[in-house]
């Protein structure tokens, strides 16, 4: 499944867990603890930006590193679980 303009699926949200002091992704009957990179990617998934735009923004933040493949891989993994969907679909 191609994610042109990724966004969090309905009922999926990011939250800062104050007890564990970590960012978590909450969804129906589950939670994922996220690392910094995953948070940075998911925060940009607004259903408007394309995957390329997200990768470009992150690349700027990480001093020009080519992160497109990493972003695509991360979103594919989360997308397989139905937590991120394509806004156009």
């Amino acid at each position: 499944m191609a994610l042109e303009r990724p966004q969090l699926a309905t009922g999926v949200r990011l939250k800062h867990d104050r007890v564990r002091d970590q960012q978590v992704l909450l969804f129906p009957e589950g939670a994922l603890v996220l690392n910094e990179t995953a948070v940075a990617v998911l925060e940009l998934c607004d259903g408007d930006r394309t995957l390329d735009e997200i990768a470009a923004l992150l690349s700027e933040r990480y001093e020009g590193a080519d992160v497109r493949d990493d972003v695509a891989e991360l979103l594919a993994g989360i997308g397989e679980r139905g937590l991120v969907v394509d806004a156009g679909a």
Binding site: M1, A9, T10, G11, V24, L26, A31
Partner: protein
């Protein structure tokens, strides 16, 4: 061992329920006096806040039928304020539009609706109430309001052959998740084990149907398939391990590590009216009884499979029910000296059953003792 931070609060708001499912995981003495005195809404609200402070992320509003509590909207508001991810686990009786819209406005995150079968008449027969059409309407309303929807069907001998049409039903209703949980033999299900336990061939066909559907549907529908313990040779980590992830609070405020823990004698049960949730989680005799691995005897203590931290010895309530000792290894494990009990139950399920009349269910009811209908 130190207590980990809990993730889940299971709030059994009431044991009142319009359905009479013969496999209900509620205790069989739900009609007992001690469950009549339901925890007031203000106490639930305090418990939700205490749970969030303790690290709980997920709240399951369940029962019985949680919609039977008139304060359900206020309870959801408090859950939202506390930052919890809330799921309403409902029979969808009742599921009135205005109330559900109010739940949506209050921040309810997710709706889970139970069905008993994909065939309306059989669904109603298993649930012991005319309910199917109302459940369909409720599911459509939930989707109209853009709730993520989970359809839950407890599987058993009488509906497992319909797995394919159950999956179609879930797709048609717009569900994102389908829980196909094979009956586990706790609560009311122990009274109906003979009538409920599927054959191995039925299970295998069901599992194949699930595999084909997953292939076809991909992430559109997440299908959970939970095997019944009785057909496994190593136990599951019941509740993710005793007092490790979850806290369950009964309608009267009794706090337990799982649905069946009250059946285990010898440990004091704490009530949320008397002690803060944190104290109960950390200090309660019941929660500490089987936490971690230190309580284990043989064969768990020297587990040759290295599964101590994987299955945590399986289910304490099942160990008690089948061996008389809650600290015994779950007899589902092939290394348990009592494993033959499980094997015998499997063998019994393979024996031909009379075509008609079918074995009668003992339906869940608040009256005690349970009546065979």
């Amino acid at each position: 061992m130190p207590a980990p931070d809990p993730l889940l609060l299971i709030a059994e708001l009431t044991y009142r329920c319009p359905l009479h499912c013969p496999y209900c995981s509620n205790p069989t003495d739900i009609g007992a006096d001690r469950y009549r005195d339901e925890l007031p809404a203000a106490d639930w609200q305090r418990v939700f806040r205490e749970a969030a402070d303790l690290g709980v992320l997920q709240l399951a509003l369940t029962g019985g039928e949680p919609m039977a509590r008139k304060e359900i909207v206020e309870l959801v508001s408090t859950s939202t304020e506390a930052g919890l991810y809330s799921t309403l686990v409902t029979s969808a009786l009742p599921f009135p539009r205005r109330r559900v819209e109010a739940l949506h406005a209050a921040g309810l995150d997710h709706v889970q609706i139970s069905f008993q079968h994909s065939d309306p008449a059989l669904s109603d027969e298993i649930g012991g109430t005319i309910a199917f059409e109302r459940k369909v309407k409720a599911a459509r309303l939930a989707r109209e309001l853009d709730f993520p929807l989970t359809v839950n069907v407890v599987l058993h001998r009488g509906n497992i052959d319909a797995v394919e049409s159950i999956i179609e039903m879930a797709v048609d209703l717009g569900a994102r998740r389908l829980e196909l949980a094979n009956t586990q033999y706790h609560g009311w299900a122990t009274l109906n084990r003979e009538a409920l336990m599927p054959t191995r061939a039925q299970l295998e066909r069901g599992e194949e149907a699930v595999g084909r559907a997953r292939e076809r549907l991909g992430p559109r529908l997440e299908i959970l398939w939970v095997l019944p313990d009785y057909y496994e040779d190593v136990p599951k980590p019941c509740m993710g391990g005793w007092a490790r992830d979850a806290i369950l609070v009964q309608p009267n405020g009794d706090a337990l590590p799982c649905q069946g823990a009250a059946s285990i004698p010898g440990f004091a049960i704490d009530n949320v009216r008397d002690r803060p949730l944190r104290e109960i989680w950390l200090e309660s005799e019941m929660f500490n009884a089987f936490r971690g691995t230190g309580w284990m005897g043989e064969p768990c203590r020297s587990c040759p499979l290295g599964r101590q931290e994987e299955d945590f010895g399986g289910c304490r309530c099942q160990a008690l029910a089948l061996t008389g000792d809650a600290a015994a290894t779950d007899p589902v494990c092939h290394l348990s000296p009592h494993h033959d009990v499980v094997v015998a139950a499997r063998r019994e399920a393979e024996e031909p059953q009379p075509a008609a009349p079918p074995r009668p269910f003992v339906y869940r009811a608040l009256e005690t003792p349970p009546a065979r209908v």
